[in-house]
Symmetry: C2
């Protein structure tokens, strides 16, 4: 119980060789083993409560049955609300396929080649990289080797494997929704200033929509926030005293930004959506319970997670995947922050019991 049980202990108890133990317990197909000794081994293993040491196993097999989720910046774990459903999707698929999960951070590694070192360490069989920095040389080198890597969000490399939503489309759809409501002064607040592709693409979609509607963009109506709602709040405060007057609608780059924008508008006495309509991107679980409930473009991060894991498994098995670039469809969820008189009542009321 307390001391470690090794396969040699099982072998000794069953009075067979360690080889036999290994073959029985792993169910080796072409192993010639008598039924009698097979039962002896199984009995001994059960009696000693034997569980194989995965480290030894990994060493000889050259594979750890473990995958890494590499986060661009672990200090963002707390604030990036997109991560939790993502992790959920990855975990579910990974477990189902018998893979374990490590959480790693890309930045802050000592060496200059964090991705290469992670692979060389032999701890993982594959990795999922969340929102890679565009132009990351370490990652680019690794992707070129063909080693199993799936990126959440493109880096623009020729041989990359990605799972992504069409962020430009999402940005356009969100903005078009505001325009269809008759709004003409539509502002945008992004969720990051850094070079994250999703940020840039959503913004591009915003400009696309304006262009299609033949509305000249005003740079005073475009602000950059960060991962926290507070930045959305601050941006909205600035927008309300914009040169041409306050906007009549805001496309928030994320739901978290949307929360801040709405809060600022309400605090200033504006009515949402009557005076200002607001839409976000994400559809966090909490968004339906804001009042007004937050309109948004749902991007299914949980689904993206399981799709990424599915693709990665194909790659690790050495198969050519059906597609190296999976798009997750997004959908417009119109709620009270854009639709006047929206009925907030949840459609399905899970019954609570006393």
């Amino acid at each position: 119980m307390t001391s470690k049980v090794r396969s040699i202990d099982v072998a000794n108890l069953a009075k067979v060789s360690r080889t036999t133990v290994s073959q029985v317990l792993n169910g080796v197909a072409d192993a010639r083993i008598g039924e009698e000794t097979r039962q002896k081994v199984l009995a001994a293993a059960r009696m000693l409560n034997y569980t194989p040491n995965e480290v030894g196993r990994s060493l000889v097999r050259g594979s750890t049955k473990t995958v890494a989720l590499v986060l661009r910046d672990i200090s963002l774990i707390e604030v990036d609300l997109f991560l939790q459903p993502l992790l959920s999707g990855i975990m579910k698929s990974a477990r189902q396929a018998g893979y374990g999960l490590r959480v790693e951070g890309a930045r802050g590694s000592l060496g200059g080649d964090p991705y290469g070192d992670l692979v060389a360490s032999g701890m993982i069989d594959g990795m999922i990289v969340e929102n890679p920095d565009a132009g990351d040389q370490s990652l680019a080198r690794l992707v070129n080797t063909g080693w199993p890597v799936v990126q959440l969000g493109s880096q623009g490399l020729p041989f990359e494997n990605t799972v992504q939503t069409d962020n430009q489309l999402a940005g356009r759809v969100a903005t078009e929704h505001l325009l269809q409501l008759g709004r003409r002064r539509v502002a945008h607040v992004s969720y990051s200033t850094s070079e994250i592709r999703a940020v840039v693409e959503r913004k591009a979609g915003y400009f696309d929509a304006l262009k299609n509607a033949k509305i000249p963009p005003e740079m005073e109506l475009v602000k950059n926030g960060d991962f926290e709602s507070s930045s959305g709040y601050a941006a909205m405060v600035e927008l309300m005293s914009a040169p041409g007057g306050p906007p009549d609608a805001v496309f928030a780059g994320s739901d978290a930004i949307g929360y801040g924008v709405i809060a600022a508008a309400l605090d200033a006495g504006l009515r949402v959506p009557k005076d200002v309509a607001v839409i976000g991107v994400d559809d966090l679980r909490t968004s339906a319970y804001f009042r007004p409930s937050l309109s948004t473009v749902r991007i299914h991060p949980s689904l993206a997670g399981s799709a990424a894991m599915g693709l990665l498994i194909e790659l690790m098995r050495g198969r050519e995947p059906q597609s190296r670039c999976i798009y997750i469809a997004s959908e417009l969820i119109a709620r009270g922050s854009t639709l006047e008189g929206f009925d907030n009542t949840p459609r399905v009321l899970s019954s609570a019991n006393s």
Copy 2:
């Protein structure tokens, strides 16, 4: 670059033995090695871009420098909003101390002894268990062996190491806050029906407060929800048609529940906090941006995570920790959902730049 580099390759290039390579690269203190050969080895290692294989290393060393975060139920990852800040705290402390992190699930393991098997597999040096099921035999056995385990939330075992908040106190403080506002019909909606200790303790604190105020508890005002806001919404709908009339205050067992409760109240035309005051527990990042902003008891899950990791590190090093039971102080955060005329404006406005 593409093929694996082993320490023997470094040895060959530097024309020394593998032993020397190991000693140089690990900076063994009492190894007697000439400065000249030391430089040769370092140069060779750098030239080949050598990174030690952690699996081989782990095997011989008997330790993986990896810790597991064991989640009670991985299907709750998506809905339990407490997990993200917790993970953040754990990750930060773990990285700082040079430990990696695996995410595991307690349920759904094939064997009947998931915790024991995880240890026997040799993949981890210690584990943090989140909200263990009370009376889990597998975990109880492991804790008794003295193996490094830190629980987030007590299981009531004699030798357990825990990090927890005083949930009963939190429940009492929250309820007392409502009572001090003059409310007399105070309802409670818990965030789970299962036997999670935190749920039971917060509820006990609620009853404590009522008792101290000499208010007879009404069981019609006590509902059980789950991790999702929808259950809070449903519970509030029921409460509004309670026998003795709707409550004038609700103590929600979690912020997520609080969101649902407030939404239901507003949708029914009630004013918050004038007609119904609502307070939660957690202080999620989004809570300050609800309108009305959610009063709550902040329990610092991020801090709990890093404290748990700190304690675990002490245990793994074989030291006797200063305390085997760390309490994280909670604090009442009164906001607009309980205080009329509360100024919602965030105190620190992080400036957004265009």
